[in-house]
């Protein structure tokens, strides 16, 4: 069953098709949301809201505008933003990067990622981990296509600086 057929069945109310979609995408969405909201528990809540929202209104996805995966992560990102707004806080906790040993460097990478502004973090994750194209990134994040390349460079360079120790202690802010 291809993506279009699967989505056609989801729109028709086929719970089995939606379960298959959930099982195929939920682990990756959870990993993404965990870096958006800071905890596994909150990520599960936001993911649940995301899937429930799509199940109730599957008509919000238009195949001609991109992949279902891009639509899902875009919806997850918006839900995460709502989650932050409901908490009444726009500032995430600052994590100090103190360990410098080689064995810790890779595990520190995700901590470094968490120090990036939300938009940069989202952009990098969706590009590097999820492999979304520039076009999909523009549509998913509602940004001009012509700015995707420069924004990605800015995010990538910021992460490199933090990772290599030159950008320690920056604050992340939800926008």
């Amino acid at each position: 069953m291809n993506d279009q057929e699967q989505w056609r069945r989801i729109v028709a109310g086929d719970a089995q098709a939606f379960t298959a979609f959930y099982q195929a995408t939920a682990p990756r969405l959870l990993a993404f949301l965990q870096h958006m909201v800071g905890s596994r528990e909150a990520a599960e809540d936001v993911a649940q809201e995301t899937y429930a929202g799509i199940w109730r209104h599957p008509g919000g996805y238009h195949p001609e505008r991109g992949s279902a995966r891009g639509y899902l992560f875009g919806a997850g990102r918006r839900r995460a933003q709502e989650w932050w707004r409901r908490r009444g806080s726009v500032t995430e906790e600052v994590v100090e990067v103190s360990a410098e040993s080689h064995t810790e460097r890779q595990s520190m990478l995700l901590d470094a990622l968490d120090r990036l502004p939300t938009e940069q973090r989202t952009l990098l994750w969706l590009r590097e981990v999820e492999g979304l194209s520039y076009d999909e990134l523009a549509k998913t994040l509602d940004i001009p296509l012509g700015t995707v390349r420069s924004r990605l460079f800015t995010a990538r360079e910021a992460l490199r600086r933090i990772w290599t120790g030159s950008g320690k202690g920056e604050r992340n802010e939800m926008r």
Partner: protein, 365 residues
Amino acid sequence: MRCDEAAEFVSALCDGEMITPEAAAHIRACAACAELMKQYTALGAALRCEASLALTALPPTPHWETRTGILTRLWRKGWQTMRVPRLAFAALVLVALITIGVEWKRAHVSAQSNGSVVVVTVNREDQSVFSTHAFSLDGSDKGYMSMGGILDPKKNIDASISLKLAGRAEDGVRFFVKVKAFPIAEEIAKANTDDFAQLPEREITLIPGVPLKVAMGEYGTLTLNGEWFDHIPPQVGMGIVSIDTGPSELRIQQPVLLKGDMRIGEIDGMTDTHSGFDTSDFVVFPKTGRYLFSLSPIPDAVQGKIEKNRISFEYQGTPYTLLTGAPIAQLEKVWVKVEPDYKDPDHPGSYGLGSLRNATLTQKN
């Protein structure tokens, strides 16, 4: 091109994008840009590696509730916020659904052109119901069915119309019909002398949905109205609109008479009802006679008891029970006169259900 200008193109190369020739020429020749590309590439790989490690077990798959329409959601919302007792509301909805269902079925069946039952309602000229009978076209209704009553109360005219099924016709039913109408005083005088069998017989075709007028001699007309059904309606008869009887109404619908535990008579598909205390309902069963029921005392009658759809009375030491298909009356007391030797002067040996005025009964007796 300087390295800080080429850095964005290095990033683009890591994304699999094409870049300008100038930027490509610089990056190929610049060791610093090559090192930057190596770092960016390593960062991406490291991110994917960490993300892969972060993929944990999937939480239990939620139960996706079947999507419902807006009406259902509004219904649920209304149900959850309801302020009236839910049981009462549910009962009201149930009654509404049953009513709608009955009406729908009635309309649906009536739309058929070849039902197995045709209900004939006979109306007076003022559109009041004279009588109603359900004729089954399965061959069980072979004899004449007589319907009698008051044709014109202002002129004291009684009438009788007898219908016998002759068969189906295109879009309708053929009947043999006999009619008679007399002033009440004259009828009393001739009651036992008229030979109904000698009355002229005519054939008519009744098309359900098309009123058919039948002349009643010099006394006016009765109008027959037919309606198709696929079964004998439980409340056929006399234009009954409510299962509850009126304050002075006496209704006998599809009666079954029991003598002790033995069934001695039954009339299917027929109802007689009237209001007022000056009239009796009667049922006639072949070989068992005529039974008159009145809500007021009548001569030579025994007192019985009405309980919903049954009348219990005792005659010559034997308990009798008349069971009917609907509530009989609001009152409990009923007077029952048994005429075991009675024979219908018009149709000896036939069944009968009708009403007659108690005054007439008194004069005859």
